[in-house]
């Protein structure tokens, strides 16, 4: 269990499936919030990258959902919660290069199979829970003050 620490900021952003015009706006909003709180550039960059990859995954592959930004005294948490279809094999989906992306996603410059791996690389704690046919919830945590290797 993660220890409870006081909440500094909470934001909830809806993500709409296949809305390519808007894809990425949540990440830029998250970035601005974190910059506004005076977070270090490294934390802001990592959180933004994690958020961007997660947001693109939600737009491209899910039925939509929401992204919740939680800033606590010692950490930034980004929660991605969607309405399915779920991930059958999370280990496989996390492998760099594994992708189920359709051509139209690749034409946008995404779908290389790097998304989940990149989210893990930029997070200190990372957890995916998924039930096929129902939903997926991802929690990415970036601890403040811990250097990124």
């Amino acid at each position: 269990m993660t220890p409870r620490t006081p909440l500094v900021l909470k934001r909830i952003y809806p993500v709409i499936s296949r809305d390519l015009e808007q894809a990425g706006v949540v990440s830029t909003a998250v970035r601005r919030e974190l910059l506004g709180l005076g977070m270090s550039p490294d934390v802001v960059r990592r959180a933004s990258v994690v958020c961007f990859e997660g947001e693109m995954n939600m737009v491209l592959y899910t039925r939509g959902g929401r992204i919740i930004l939680l800033v606590k005294e010692d950490r930034v948490e980004v929660l991605f919660s969607d309405h399915g279809p779920g991930i059958a094999d999370i280990d496989l989906a996390s492998q760099p290069g594994y992708s189920t992306a359709p051509d139209w996603a690749r034409e946008l410059g995404f779908g290389a199979g790097l998304g989940i791996h990149n989210m893990q690389q930029n997070s200190d704690l990372f957890k995916i829970r998924s039930r096929v046919g129902e939903a997926t919830v991802v929690r990415a945590t970036i601890l403040l003050g811990i250097p990124f290797f």
Binding site: A23, G24, F110
Partner: protein, 131 residues
């Protein structure tokens, strides 16, 4: 290297952000695959050279705090994307040159490659000079 000099070298025009023509960028990264940009660029203020013109290019550049975006192959982003870029303060440039030429010219003019994370082929001795 200043954006103004980069624009001159590769015959690029400012689509937006010409007021930032004196901005310095020391390094560049070229890719059409935005996943690679997100995964591999690790510093800020980098010049992104790309043939992708979707709104996501500018959002990636914003999220990564990049110095500018240079579109190659004569491609131009949509008006909505340009308008969005105006609000972010990220200059957009465009050239008719292809990516190979653009990168070659800038590399020869001593614009450095972006520092990047380790690649799969790096094995045990990654490119020591860069990382």
């Amino acid at each position: 290297m200043k954006l103004r000099e980069i624009a001159q070298l590769v015959d690029a025009q400012f689509i937006t952000g010409s007021d930032h023509a004196d901005r310095e960028v020391a390094r560049a990264f070229a890719a059409d695959l935005l996943s690679d940009v997100l995964a591999m660029v690790r510093e800020e203020g980098v010049l992104l050279i790309t043939g992708m013109t979707t709104p996501q290019v500018v959002r990636v550049a914003e999220v990564m705090n990049m110095g500018a975006v240079l579109f190659v192959r004569g491609k131009l982003p949509t008006a909505a994307t340009v308008e969005y870029a105006c609000g972010t303060g990220i200059p957009l440039l465009a050239t008719r040159r292809i990516m190979f030429e653009t990168c070659g010219i800038l590399y020869q003019s001593e614009l450095s490659p972006a520092q990047r994370k380790r690649f799969p082929l790096d094995h045990d001795s990654p490119d020591a000079a860069r990382s």
